[in-house]
Every structure is written in C-alpha cells, then in structure tokens.
C-alpha cells in the first residue's frame, strides 16, 4: 500500500508483507479466474449438451462457419497473449517504453479480434440466416462466444486505461492537460490503425485486380495522408512533459491484468476447439 522507493530492488515474485509471499492482487486474480472457470464451464456445458442432443432440423455448422476467419482471429488472440506477456516482462524490468509498445500491440490485436467477431456474427446473420433466436444452436453459440467477446472487450477497455495511466505525470498539478492529451493520443492511434487497415485492404484489391501501384496511390491518397497525420499526432500527444508516476512498482497491476488477458485467451483455446473445430469432425 505505501509506495516502494525506487532504490530498493523489487522482487516481483515475492511480497514480504503477505503471509504467503504471493502479492494480494495476484492471489485475488487467480481466485477470480478459478471462479471464471466454473462460469465458462457451465456455458460450454450448455452448448455441448445441446449440440450432442440437437433437435431435428438443427443447422449444420459446417455450412455456416468460416474456419479461415475464425483461424485468423484465433491466431490474432494468441499473438495478443504473447504481447501481453512481453508487456509484463518489460515493466518488471522497469522498461516503460517497451511496456507501452507491447501494451499498445495487445490492444490493437484485441480490437482486431473483436472486430473479426463482429464481422463474423454479421456475416452469419445476414448471409447464413443463423441468428440468436431462430435455432437452439444459435442461442448457445452466440451466448457463449458473445460472453467471451464481452470478456475480451472488458479486457481491451482495461488495457487502454492502463496504457493511458502509464502516462500520468508525477505532478498532476503542473501538467493539467495530460489526460486530455492522452485521450487524443489513443484516438490518434485508433486513426492510425484504421487508416492502415483500409490502405492495406485497398492494396490487396489492387493486387488482385492487377491494376498496378499507380492506381493504388491515386485511389488511396487520402488514406495515406490520414495515416501520416494520425501517426504524427499520436507521436506528438504521447510525449510526456515530465517524469511519470508509473514504474516497476506498478508491475503488479500490469501482471494482474495480464493474468486476466491470458485467461481470456485460454478460454478461447477451449472454445475454438469445442465450438468450431469439433463441428467438422
């Protein structure tokens, strides 16, 4: 509870103020995750029970699912898990810059996962007539994957908050606009990601259509301008104006958040197999 002085080396694996040596927040998070195992266990049980005893006329999953899309989003979530582990590793060594980059990448990958899931749901509803209410399979599928997606969204929100927090100056009285600047920074980064995504999409279309790079540049000039502007803005707004109140002693918070994020990933490992892959067997 009292802030550690920066000069005493922090042992991130042992907290001498607790009876077991395990930091309180870590113990709290592990206990919560044990609880969340039961939570997802019951949802997965519902889904599996109903898939093993389907009503007549149940839709065939193989006609609905797009295993390529889901594989892509699985891979993305896996990479976000790696980035999260690297972020924790970085802050435990006091490397703030590396932590911020890793955290940002985690956020971007998490957001891509969510976007893929939204796209997937939209595709199922519009093109495959597979909705929440028109079949039991839909009820269990959307509720289960939607609950997982909600967990991811909460995680992304938490990660963004932690990212912004890592810019909080030590003396908030001197630097009153820090919060606004960081909100703008996050907005600019969002812009970078979106512009980059659409530019890449355009590039892919151009390559597929074979119309040549010149066509790409003329068709995407505003995207590229936007990309340049938002990149510059994000760099500008991120510059801290003084020492920040975030260092190695905050590692426990990043680590606890990391545990939550990894858990969301391992639940997806189970869901990917049990809900998607097993339908093809």
């Amino acid at each position: 509870m009292s802030s550690h002085a920066a000069h005493a080396p922090i042992d991130h694996h042992h907290d001498h103020t607790t009876s077991t040596g395990i930091p309180n927040k870590k113990l709290l998070m592990w206990t919560f995750l044990a609880s969340d195992c039961m939570f997802f266990g019951m949802l997965i049980a519902t889904h599996l029970v109903y898939r093993l005893h389907p009503p007549p006329g149940a839709p065939a999953a193989q006609d609905i699912f797009s295993i390529e899309l889901t594989s892509f989003s699985t891979f993305i979530l896996l990479m976000s898990s790696l980035m999260m582990a690297l972020a924790v590793n970085a802050i435990q060594k006091g490397n703030l810059k590396s932590m911020r980059w890793s955290l940002l990448t985690t956020i971007v990958f998490g957001a891509i996962f969510l976007w893929c899931q939204v796209y997937e749901f939209d595709h199922f509803v519009k093109d495959r007539n597979f909705t929440l209410t028109n079949s039991l399979f839909g009820s269990t599928f959307y509720t289960l994957t939607g609950t997982h997606g909600t967990h991811v969204a909460i995680g992304v929100l938490w990660l963004i908050m932690m990212y912004v927090r890592s810019f909080q100056p030590r003396d908030t009285a001197k630097d009153r606009t820090w919060f606004l600047r960081n909100v703008l920074h996050v907005a600019a980064v969002t812009g970078v990601v979106l512009f980059a995504m659409f530019a890449v999409l355009n590039l892919v279309h151009v390559i597929q259509a074979g119309t040549g790079l010149g066509a790409f540049f003329s068709g995407s000039i505003w995207l590229l301008v936007g990309l340049a502007v938002t990149t510059a803005a994000s760099v500008h707004f991120a510059k801290p104006r003084g020492p920040v109140a975030f260092d190695e002693s905050n590692a426990i918070d990043v680590e606890s958040m990391g545990l939550y994020w990894h858990f969301v990933d391992i639940v997806w490992i189970v869901i990917f197999t049990a809900v998607y892959l097993l339908e093809y067997v």
Partner: protein
Amino acid sequence: MSASASTAAHDHGPDENKYQLYVQIAMLLAVLTGIEIVAIFFPFAPWIIVTTLVVLSVVKFLFVIFYFMHLRWDKPFCTILFAIGLVLGGGTLWVLLLLFGAQDSFPLTSILD
C-alpha cells in the same frame, strides 16, 4: 531478492531468455493451432481426430498457464488454486454430459416425433 543474471537456476532464467522464451512459445502455439486446423480434414476416424484436437488444446492451455501466466515460477499455491476451479468446472461439465447422455434418461417418446 534481486535477480542475478549468470548463475540463476532454471527457475529464474536471465531476463533476455524470458523474452526469447515467450516468443518461442508463441510460435509453438501458432504451429499447434495450425495443426489443429488441418487435423479436422484428415481422413481418420472421428475419435482419433477428436482425441488429437483435445490433446493439442490441452497442451496449448498448459503452455499458456505455466509460462505466459507464470505459474511455473510462482508459488505452487497459485497453481493449486486455479486447479481447484479448473477441475471443478471440468468435472461438472463432464458429469452434465454424462447425465444428458444416459440412455435411461431419454423419454420413450418425444413431442418432436
């Protein structure tokens, strides 16, 4: 307890190795996921494929909890704590599947017939 780099045992490897280790594990997880995705198209009996998928998922699961989530280097109590939730959740799930699969719990006639 400050981490001294050179003579540390396997438990607290030098910091550089942790970074590399994480990246290597991520690559491994990606490969395992790739194997899972192609496995469903193998021309083997369903039970072989299901077993393969389950085993691969379990391996991925264990790598994430022991390495990314650091259980390997933490106090065993954290592992025990999580295992309680996992075993209870998994066990209840298994019992539910058995209960709903038990032949003598099926109605003799169905309103859907």
